[in-house]
Symmetry: C2
Subunit: 203 residues, 2 copies
Amino acid sequence: MSRSGNAVDAQTILDAAVGMLEEGGIAGFSMRGLADRIGVAVTSIYWHVGGRDALFDSLTDRLRDEMAALPTDGATPIERITALARAQRTMLIDRQHLLAVANARHRARTLFVPVQQHLATELAGLGITGDHAALALRSIEVHVISFALMQFSSLRGDKNDVADASAWTDDWLDRELAEALRSPTDYDAVFEYGLSALLASLC
Amino acid sequence: MSRSGNAVDAQTILDAAVGMLEEGGIAGFSMRGLADRIGVAVTSIYWHVGGRDALFDSLTDRLRDEMAALPTDGATPIERITALARAQRTMLIDRQHLLAVANARHRARTLFVPVQQHLATELAGLGITGDHAALALRSIEVHVISFALMQFSSLRGDKNDVADASAWTDDWLDRELAEALRSPTDYDAVFEYGLSALLASLC
DNA sequence: ACCTGAACACCGTTCAAGT
DNA sequence: ACCTGAACACCGTTCAAGT
């Protein structure tokens, strides 16, 4: 419908898929809708990129490759690790819907791969190697990715935050705590809190 | 099909839904399939519990209520917090599919509600109150839940662990680290590592 | 090599009709 | 009050047929 030239290749299809996902999320995505958006029969998508699963896998691979260029500046190893974790988190939140796509394919952790080697180098700079390095690396990995995953998920259902919070009446043990728990979660603060706890345990 | 008596009420339907989810996961669940399993017309489910979303919400509420009875033994506040976090994590892994259901409704964090008050009490015992307590509480919350969510998701796509690991050749900077990263993630160890880092930052 | 339409086997949901 | 069948508007995927 929306296209005039007929240069339909895998890249064009993937680009259109990203656009569609950014507009309506994973719930708003369908093979048929994607075909309409490109102006082609559904079946032609199957020829170029395969089915839904294959398409989602390709999008995941694309996002993973984009993650290779994340900035890693900072004076000390700890600062560089922090910067890397923050930058990746920002990018994942930015690309919420693609993260959801990776997760739908159970491949969210794949997105961490390009960061692993950088992180291993920084850990080595701190004298952390072997099993300990592997543990630290994976802790940071899970913290960054699962956190983004959950934040994304929570933002979509923000009414629940309020509903659940109604359980916190003021006459409960700590008025300031009750107050804080009644307002929506400050994900940035919670992320930083967990990250610095993880990094502190390294030294 | 499978029932003879005709006592079809909301509870029976929810129980059957849990059974169906345990067998085939969220992907294997459908309203029509559930109706067949009970031996009733699909539309009768709509009368008793509402549509798919309402049904999933009810299952989430049920699981949330079950979380109220988690054991909290330990000599010190830190030990009791640790025990609580571990017990909840074990239960979430046990009920993987129901956790996935809650997540599909963007209500995974709801599952933490029954634990919140216990945790707040223990934090108060450590002299932690107000905003700091809120931050600590939510850090533990996100750690427990998002971790279980991700572990569940990863286990379903375990082939990726191997595929991604192929990037780790031995001639890379740290042989022992490469070795460790090539084998599948020990989620228990990573969970404990992150949890103790969080708790250490409390004191 | 590329694109198509038709068909298959599914979905969730609504609603008028039954008892 | 409870349950039904029919119908609507969707899905993803396959495959033989076209050019």
